[in-house]
Amino acid sequence: MVETMPTLPASAWPDPPAGVPASEMTWAEVVAPGGATSKVLSRGTHVRLRDLHGQACAHLLLYNAEQPWERLNVADTVKIPWQAYLGVGHPLLSDQGRVLATIVADDSGRHDALCGGGAPARARFINAAAKHGLEPRDLPPSVSFFEGVRVQGDGSLNWLGSAGAGRAVTLRCELALVVLLADVAHPVDPRPEPEVTALEVLAWRGAATTPDDPLWTSTPELRRAFENTTDYWEARA
């Protein structure tokens, strides 16, 4: 039996997340270690990434599906919330002052927005991006989940590694997105030959963040980012 494969239709996935009807599932795939995948997801979709066996490292790039020249901007993603470490409530911002996705659940807490993916992730992203008409010039710095890095006072990097098997992160798509994922070792993993294990990806239909969500008003910066996002898609709809 092959573990690392997509399940079609996604509603046939045997174990949807708690509270999610099988009929709402739109993506169910286990990505092979060293592999990559991609998908176009509608606004409001929730995506759960899970480190099945404890050595996954999920490198992520996001693009506005309607205009992929708008893409993840890692600098704004850490600068606007004044926070280098990704966690619940953190927005993944585009270069247009809009929210591409928000992190709505996370029981790992070991992620990285500073080191990118290195040559292995770049190689996977080149091919994954090509399948959406995107070229190597379209690859900005990426973020990664499940292998943590922390910065010391002198600026040096401290490797945390994995929080263990079964940890998951859930993203909420605030716009229709092209999602690129690669499961390869983190670039500052100090092990000579880092082990990498499979990555589970599940997605289901849902709603984007609304003004009555506490996240919307959690900071003035995030409120304005949601306002910019709404202003964009309402004008375009």
């Binding site: 020249w69 901007n73 890692v74 600098a75 704004d76 850490v78 600068k79 606007i80 004044w82 926070q83 280098a84 470490y85 911002l93 270069d95 247009q96 002052g97 809009r98 500073l114 080191c115 990118g116 993916g117 290195g118 040559a119 770049r122 070229e135 190597p136 010039r137 379209d138 690859l139 900005p140 710095p141 990426s142 922390r150 910065v151 006072g153 002198d154 600026g155 040096s156 990097l157 670039p187 500052v188 003035p220 910066e221 304005r224 980012a225 910019n228």
Partner: protein, 197 residues
């Protein structure tokens, strides 16, 4: 030899040939200089903040730091630095991100991304060629809990840094026009670019 003064808030660009040096002088102090760099012969290969950080194992740029490309290759090396710490995490200000940080009343203020787009267009570069940049003379510490700060610069009038090109390097500069935070002391000022063969 090129010796040019970049007016406050203005862009600059030029090719720094391999083995030559580019000196950037903070003429009046506390001026952030936003900086992008490309392989002059193949601009799909460009400065990469994450590859630079991962390779040197440190988020700050200082003397000895090798600026690396998205292919991991050396692009430029910091061979002289009178300041001691520069940022490559915070990225450039844009009209769009200004609306997030400061409010929609700042939408029509000038911003570094506007400089990069205008100056880059002279070299055939477009929006997709803009990536996380360097902020020379900007101090962005990361606290233990991950909180970022843009604190008062540690630069002073006349201090400079010197970069040696490892390959022929196209440099794009935005002399940062930001007036809403301390990165320019709330008062953008000129900088001087000295290219020595």
């Amino acid at each position: 030899m090129i010796d040019e003064t970049v007016a406050a808030c203005a862009p600059w660009s030029g090719v720094v040939p391999a083995a030559s040096t580019l000196q950037i002088v903070d003429l009046e102090g506390n001026q952030a200089v936003d900086f992008l760099a490309y392989n002059a012969h193949d601009t799909a290969e460009r400065y990469s903040a994450p590859d630079t950080i991962a390779a040197q194992g440190n988020v700050f740029l200082a003397t000895g730091s090798v600026l690396r490309t998205n292919l991991g290759n050396p692009l430029m090396t910091i061979v002289g630095d009178e300041v001691g710490r520069h940022d490559t995490i915070g990225g450039a200000c844009s009209k769009e991100s200004n609306t997030l940080r400061y409010g929609h009343h700042t939408k029509h203020q000038h911003a570094c991304v506007e400089n990069f787009l205008a100056e880059g267009s002279k070299w055939g570069l477009g929006k997709r060629d803009l990536v996380s940049n360097i902020n020379w003379y900007m101090n962005v510490p990361i606290e233990e809990d991950g909180t970022l700060g843009i604190v008062d610069g540690i630069s002073a009038p006349g201090l400079s840094l010197t970069l040696r090109a490892e390959i022929d390097t196209l440099v794009l500069v935005s002399n940062c026009p930001q007036i809403n935070n301390p990165c320019n002391g709330f008062n953008p000022t000129p900088v001087r670019m000295i290219l020595t063969p």
